[in-house]
Symmetry: C2
Amino acid sequence: MTSRATWVYDFSEGNKEQKDLLGGKGANLAEMTNLGLPVPPGFTITTDACRYYLEHGGTPEELDAQVTEHLTALEKAMGKSLGDPDDPLLVSVRSGAAASMPGMMETVLNVGLNDESVRGLAAQAGSERFAWDSYRRLIQMFGKTVLGIDGELFDDAFDEVKREQGTESDLDLDAEHLSDVVARFKTIVREQCDRDFPMDPREQMDLAINAVFDSWNSDRAVIYRRRERIPSDAGTAVNVCAMVFGNLGMDSGTGVAFTRDPGSGAQGVYGDYLQNAQGEDVVAGIRNTVPLVDLQGIDRGAYDQLMGIMSRLEGHYRDLCDIEFTVERNRLWMLQTRVGKRTAAAAFVIATQLVDEGLIDMDEAVRRVTGDQLAQLMFPRFVSGGDATQLTQGMNASPGAAVGRAVFSSEEAVRWADRGEDVVLVRRETNPDDLSGMIAAQGVLTSRGGKTSHAAVVARGMGKTCVCGAEELRVDTKGRKFTAPDGTVVDEGDVISIDGSTGRVWLGEVPVEPSSVVRYFEGEIDPAAEDTDDIVRSVHRILTHADEQRRLDVRTNADTPEDSARARRFGAQGIGLCRTEHMFLGSDRRKLVEKLILADGDEDRQSALDALEPLQRQDFLEIFEAMDGLPVTVRLLDPPLHEFLPDLTELSVRVALAEERGEPDEGNLRLLAAVRGMHESNPMLGLRGVRLGLVVPGLFAMQVRAIAEAACERKLAGGDPRPEIMIPLVGAVQELEAIREETQRVLAEVCESCGIDVQPLIGTMIEVPRAALTAGEIAGSAEFFSFGTNDLTQMTWGFSRDDVEAAFFHQYLDKGIFGISPFESLDRDGVGRLVQIAAEAGRSARPDLKLGICGEHGGDPDSVHFFHEVGLDYVSCSPFRVPVARLEAGRAALGGDRAGS
Amino acid sequence: MTSRATWVYDFSEGNKEQKDLLGGKGANLAEMTNLGLPVPPGFTITTDACRYYLEHGGTPEELDAQVTEHLTALEKAMGKSLGDPDDPLLVSVRSGAAASMPGMMETVLNVGLNDESVRGLAAQAGSERFAWDSYRRLIQMFGKTVLGIDGELFDDAFDEVKREQGTESDLDLDAEHLSDVVARFKTIVREQCDRDFPMDPREQMDLAINAVFDSWNSDRAVIYRRRERIPSDAGTAVNVCAMVFGNLGMDSGTGVAFTRDPGSGAQGVYGDYLQNAQGEDVVAGIRNTVPLVDLQGIDRGAYDQLMGIMSRLEGHYRDLCDIEFTVERNRLWMLQTRVGKRTAAAAFVIATQLVDEGLIDMDEAVRRVTGDQLAQLMFPRFVSGGDATQLTQGMNASPGAAVGRAVFSSEEAVRWADRGEDVVLVRRETNPDDLSGMIAAQGVLTSRGGKTSHAAVVARGMGKTCVCGAEELRVDTKGRKFTAPDGTVVDEGDVISIDGSTGRVWLGEVPVEPSSVVRYFEGEIDPAAEDTDDIVRSVHRILTHADEQRRLDVRTNADTPEDSARARRFGAQGIGLCRTEHMFLGSDRRKLVEKLILADGDEDRQSALDALEPLQRQDFLEIFEAMDGLPVTVRLLDPPLHEFLPDLTELSVRVALAEERGEPDEGNLRLLAAVRGMHESNPMLGLRGVRLGLVVPGLFAMQVRAIAEAACERKLAGGDPRPEIMIPLVGAVQELEAIREETQRVLAEVCESCGIDVQPLIGTMIEVPRAALTAGEIAGSAEFFSFGTNDLTQMTWGFSRDDVEAAFFHQYLDKGIFGISPFESLDRDGVGRLVQIAAEAGRSARPDLKLGICGEHGGDPDSVHFFHEVGLDYVSCSPFRVPVARLEAGRAALGGDRAGS
């Protein structure tokens, strides 16, 4: 750092691209200043200064002089000076990092007031009450956020004064009362901090600035950063801005606005205004706001100016903006702007509107929406109407719409569900014991815990609807009931409805409407028809463009003809993962599979395999038909064989009881011996996948034969089957070599006997870390790799998903160990590194190696971007995620960021 | 390949360093030729030619001419020509790759004989019988190895002729009979191959050469290479050599010799000689050989010449050599030499002898012995004497000496062992069901299966004595007995002794003698004392030198003061892994641990922890005392807590039975609920290690406090404790950061309250693949890494060792998926790559990062070399492997290869 370093920038010196240096708030204030908009003058202390402060334990030497310089300029601009007893300049001090970050100090207003200047302010404003109230607010905010005093102490003192005056409302206090409050607040400061509240305005400002810097390392901020992997040395900027007041009378006020409807995307005037008030009051909800359009009647000049500014901002930012503003004695001041949040539906509609308005092109429209938003539009939705009454609103923890009878324990959930009833599990909070109940329920409702609570995390992992933290509900699990704020009591068995997308909770059944977007995918809605809604039109236009632009193909994970056909309607370009283990289930097959497992000798085993083969062939035939002309990647049997046998503990109890009763069952005894012999301590890492193929003679050969024969039959019928054979759980090229030889032998036999040439690609899953690490060798025997990122995540992290997700992931999220479960979104640093290593080594050993991914991450937006970056050929995901993956693949190709706007 | 390529080298053109080009056999023949030793003239066709052949499906164009050229020179040197009807030159054709490799074609002798030249040979040799026998041998060997005809067809035809002559011995057949055999053999060739046995000697030779090339890709050779990771394109050389005959009369003969005793290393004349015989006959064992020293009386000239040559070879190779030679009519011919195999004891003794003889230096002596050999010397040994009688000899599958009662099933093994009896489990072969029996037994004996059989692989994994493939034994498991070849019947309960180092099996108890090398390590034998044996002296000298040269430190894995003290005597330089889970066992602790696990709330849990703390402290105190002045790396609790509770299935059965009997046990019911709640599908990947530390409040803090307080107490007592704290199962730096903060807080508290400064290093295990992949970040919070290569191997391969080793590793070894279990020897390509990635990233993030390894691989020779190459600071292994690791660390530093000589 040289002595010439610039630590402070005037609002007129920056622009919106400088978020890293000036923070988001500072950069946008600078942008507005430079657009000539009425922003109160001010300056920003850079994130560099913060970094210096944190590293050296103090501010850089030059900072003091630079702040003084900018402060002087500010005073000049405002014609007032800080601490002037007659006409004091007041400033706000606000933090503002590049990324918005909870846990940091937010704001101190009214800096510059002291026992003297409070009188000057009163004189200038013509209101003693206003001045003392402002001073009261300063000491309170300063005491809490800068001096770290427990806020309740101030609240209690304030309440005491109100009690003494026999009132409950601030508004009933006059200047004298408020001056008394100030005195009491100063006493609190002295008692808690062993010092007086600083009378020197500059000291107030400097302390506030340092407090912002310090808040960068508050516990909450540290945990948040740890979770989000925000570099711990990014630092925050500090904005110092001249105060303007919306509470100087009826010619003043404050408001928030959106440049168009953030709910639907419709154009118009959206916002709220509160006369004679400050921003704080709007948040506190003491008085009711009026619709923004009413400002027209209140202050036509300010209204027109605001409309002009909003239109300009939208054109300038080329997006919906949200805005905070204040009117001080008929003069409009812009306090903040940023690209505004919006609903999923609005995001799509706005994006295409902006295209039609010529503000952005289709590329940009695709970048503006996200797969998460599209996924939200695909959930069925509750529609208003019906006789259900809303009870409360909690947190929207896991989307979807669930209707069912309220139950209050895991056991009851299972019991009711077994009876065929839909249930919603209601708990104060959940823990791992509630797992079976959560599985049995349509949805989960809790009264405690946030979006990283056990209930929220586990429900999201299961794709189950969840509303959590509905704190207004009193849940009495022993009494099997909960009570709503209006006194309504909901007992076990009463039907409730919960909306995981909004957090709303109703008593009774709310009608559910299927998503119009899904109906469009299903071909039930024509996007070009006149009566088609804006959402479907926008989705259609954006997805069409995304498809044109994307480099990644999108396939689906499907094991049945029905799923295959649906996925194809949703845009899947083939099957990336067709599991065969489900084909081993079903009443006709279980017996055969059991015979296979318990086989006594080769002959016995082969006869079981021979009986299974035509059944498998038929399965494949139907799937090839549904996916005619598109690739179908069939994974040979993966799970350990004992998964097809009864559970050891259950069977042991059954056998022990039968013996106790003197009714031993020979069959069960034999079965128990087999189950015991095959029992594994860690089946996930046991005898399965390619290992089974190598150890159980004839098993994989039977499956390959079924695939090849089905393909031949389909070809003979004039179809175009495109099977690909995938070997699971390969860890060493030698395993693959051995199975590959067997596979090629069987294929040759079938082709010869059918007289038809079927030459499926033969490839492997990359799901064991060692496979990724030795991918160069493995590529020598594989024509394609398909990353099995579920297992790869399990083994790379050492996480058994079944065990750990419910047991402690919510705590991990809380402690910031990760920001999102690595099963939801691919862990780039660990698992992703393996994917990258394998993709590079595989391609350099075999340039035409086809690379895909068939773990659940194939439908996760962030992960799709990663797979695009790594250069895979395709992602494969569940049918319902296919459109999401199509969109995100397009966004990735267009350089869209992962979060959207 | 240019037309100038040299595909053929005369024996006089090569040397012993050219193994890659000429193969091992060819290179040594060349070396002897150039030393001027009497090697029959010949030439070597290079491995390059083989590679060309395999790649192009035919020999290079110039090869034919070059072979002709060398053949002409050979004919000239021998004064005979190939196929000459009057005096034919005969040659042998032999394969010889760089590494000796089973599965390839070995040898065809007597090439050059046909219906005409057989008569010339008879005339020259003065023996019709000799000539026809030679011809018979040619067709038989050629038919089998070159033409691929089933050898039994020849054997059957030969036996038929013998039967017709009413004899069982070849020697009773005269020339006429043998000529009849030749005729029948020729018929077999015609019938089997649709062609005549080739009469053209050059065609014989060319076909034999190509057959050697082809045998490179035989099934057995491919599997062997796959397993040993020998490059599949290395190829083999072919040696063509003039035949000399040891079977031309009593002035001829053949023999093998060693330049010193391969059993003890003692100097002298060691070998065997057989008059009037060929090498084949020695192998067939038809007649008894005489000790080599008797050659002195038979043929003084040849004997003296041989002694001179052997002395010269030893000086030249600077090592024990083994030799094959033939005397043809009093003329000595050297047919082969190579550095000879020897016993472990001889290896040490010879190495120091050669130093004393000035042939090699101490560096070379260290390179000449291996850790495996040292380990063999550390097993207790059976000594002769006692009244046990040897029953048979099987394969030495897993070393050690086991004495116990014979049992024939896993159940019996467990039953007898529970009674306190030592047992040896005897089976035809074992399978995964025998696991519990193998665990209960002292040793395992099987009558079937080789060194990769289930029994052998699993026993080696357990470090349990095993003799397998004792094929002479008839094992009757149902009858609970086995029968030895002499008719002795051994019943269940009879005491037997098995020697896993030699494969010997005795009836009765063979006295066991502790290893003198172990007694030396224990300080019971002074290596400098006069009566100390040569083995101990040599081990002492070599280990001392290895210690001086090695760069790796050697620590031990020890959890008790006793193990620590022993390891220290064995040379350990500290503890690399002190597990704390064993400290949770024991009668006084089980209750507390159960209380901890079932704790109802924080207070309950903390009181259990508080009660455990002083017990742990005492454990640490004693270990610090035993390791005073040396580092002790303590691993915080690793296993899942439910491991300390009863087994789910057993408890379920107990509870079900109690209920059935109407005697429900409240305590068991409560316990069962807890066990069920904590049950994990894959506990290895579940809630354990650092995850426990993060989720169970106070657990790690208690352990850290115990360590710190023990260290303080020890310091106060004048000791020098050097604890290091190791966090297990870290996968993300965030986990480590959180625990590190807690650890430092506790350390500071203890130091403050004791008034003593204890600042242990805080580090982490690298045992989860993700930790290795993100090691750069993790190093930011770790002062050391210790690679937990057991878990790292489990997760990198996706192998649950408990499950897969017994279930299918023997099949994997058989199929050549790997050459050695990755749990025995570190898998360099997969797990090793992660170690390397982590070591590099860790060091570059923190240059003074200490790197060690504490998996079982720390005591495996090959793995120690790898850890040396990767630049770790230390290896840690079980106390008994400490000397092995010391030696191998020295050998690695001296550039010794992994296999030794």
